[in-house]
Assembly symmetry: C2
Homo-oligomer: 357 residues x 2
């Protein structure tokens, strides 16, 4: 019987709608398994800028540090996207949170629920059985290096940087995970052109010596982007740098049928943060149609990784599976054969999951 304090950080857009459902699922799990979960909320992103001028107020950061886990929504707002010169941006809150909490490892499991084989744009026979675990480095690379303008603003620059230590710790996490799975690790870089990638490859080659039981492959990022679609089953654990991981995991969402199904865990030195890989999706915000399953599956990851509650985590996953088996779909994962009355909105989908818990 665990007593835990969970911080809900909805952020922007559909982040609000989906974390509300994720929280209900956590609540149900606590009741069912006899745990005590307490909750608080904190602001980040555009909503935080509107309220305080700061995309990650100190108060939010304090609350994160003092909680046992964070259930996170999304950040972003079209307003800033169309104004490249904006000085304060929602994403700064996200990046600062990752850096301040030392969340250097972002785990993104990509696995297709059998019922969704038809929802992907990739052929079922290519997809069936695909099961990939991405480790995206999350606190280095071009995301965090110095950036700016020179020549009167006519030239822009960004510095990508990695230290041996940063590569080593994420590589170790990925190798450890590979050991518990099919014992294959693919490290992705662009070592034929980029110096940070050459360091990356050097370090992964060295760490690999400690894991002789894991089969290692080094791939160039362009090849991986191609092979993920051509033959997703060849991958088991994939480890890569921040920027490449951002691109490849969004691409790989198509293997899972929809971005709306994918959860991620950001872990490292302190509190773990659990969030859908989808964004704030302002085009559908407020319509009540967002798929809450990625947030629910994020809650499942939270239970497993931050609280070590395996049975509870599996109960959530199998409830999601049950709802899909019963034929319920949100719009993003429906296909031509889905009857109209099985297409549910955010809350109704959440209710179906709760019913099975």
């Amino acid at each position: 019987m665990a007593t835990k304090h969970i911080l809900i950080v909805p952020g922007d857009g559909i982040g609000q709608e989906v974390t509300a459902v994720g929280k209900k699922v956590l609540d149900r799990i606590a009741a069912k398994f006899g745990h005590t979960f307490t909750y608080d909320e904190a602001l980040i992103g555009h909503v935080a800028i509107e309220a305080t001028g700061n995309p990650l107020p100190d108060e939010s950061l304090e609350k994160m540090r003092n909680s046992d886990a964070v259930l996170f929504g999304a950040v972003g707002h079209p307003k800033y996207d169309n104004d490249p010169s904006a000085k304060v941006r929602p994403e700064q809150g996200l990046l600062k949170m990752r850096k301040e909490l030392g969340l250097y490892a972002n785990l993104r499991p990509i696995k297709l629920f059998d019922e969704l084989l038809g929802a992907s744009s990739i052929k079922p026979e290519i997809l069936k059985g695909a099961d990939i675990l991405f480790f995206r480095e999350l606190t280095g690379d071009i995301y965090f290096g110095e950036k700016g303008r020179k020549n009167d603003g006519d030239t822009a620059y960004d510095i990508a940087e990695y230290s041996r230590y940063e590569v080593e710790r994420i590589a170790r996490k990925a190798f450890d995970a590979a050991r518990t799975r099919r014992k294959k690790l693919c490290s992705v870089d662009k070592a034929n052109v980029i110096e940070t990638s050459r360091l990356w490859r050097e370090v992964v080659q060295k760490v690999a010596l400690e894991y002789p039981d894991v089969e290692v492959e080094h791939q160039f990022v362009d090849a991986t982007a191609m092979l993920l679609i051509k033959d997703p089953r060849r991958f088991d654990v994939v480890v890569t740098a921040n920027l490449f991981g951002d691109i490849l995991t969004d691409e790989a969402s198509q293997i899972a049928g929809s971005m709306g199904m994918l959860a991620s865990a950001s872990i490292g030195d302190g509190t773990g943060v659990y969030e859908p890989i989808h964004g704030s999706a302002h085009d559908i915000t407020g319509k009540g149609v967002a798929n809450p399953l990625a947030s629910i599956l994020s809650a499942a990851l939270l239970l497993d990784i931050s609280f070590g509650l395996k049975a509870e985590s599996e109960a959530v996953i199998s409830a999601v599976d049950g709802v899909l088996k019963a034929g319920f779909r949100t719009g993003d994962i429906a296909d031509k054969s889905t009857p109209a009355d099985k297409i549910l909105g955010t809350d109704a989908m959440g209710e179906e999951v709760l019913k099975l818990l």
Copy 2:
């Protein structure tokens, strides 16, 4: 009746095998249409390092400058890939060629031949009618910025850089092309995080004002990586930076059924260079099984773009189409339904194309 001097630069691995076929096709076109094409050869990449110690000998560069167009193969060798600390690398020859010849625009048309609908891992109903023209910037970004090590080699860095001028000239080329097509342009960046991307977006927004007839969309690279697979038909012209273009075009090769079908044109200030987007593929080198169609289609682009020979270019493309319609396939584009006797090697495939010319 044109008199032209074409430089064949096979480079490494299957580059040798496929450019030999591409050259035969150019020769046939000259004979058929009454042109005079003369040829020379030059070294680049691993073969150039072996012969001269230099991945792009001055002599090769001189020959490129003095020819009307270059038919290029591929560069690369596994030897260097597994040795991140190698000081001299085949790819340096490729990058130097791009820089020295001012090849700032890399055009990659992605179009599926109807006969190959079955060869892709993406569902036919998602693919049918997809037709994308990528403009990848080719002489800037993290590829060409300063890079190195610090802290006794424990930290690696790469500088990504773009100037207004560099973004503007590639944007203009992309907008011009959009005008001759479906009048849609998608500019891809990561402006929510990267400063070079913010400059990129600013400049594209500004250039867009000169093209009010072209519909412009700005996308984050992670979203594009996802949408290319989910809904390839939404794209017409896509313009992006060097690194993003490298990743996205390889990914998009899956829309065309296989990497072995895709040609590219690198153009800019001087001689144009035409090459397959596939690499040196040392795993199949010397086996005579490489798909020569990308090199043949590169020859078609060469005829069109560098020589302005539209009818000749179209003759090549329709010969490729005819060969596919007749059911001939190389291994990479064969599917379960291809009869064994229709699966051809490199030279035999080339012969079939020549027969139709």
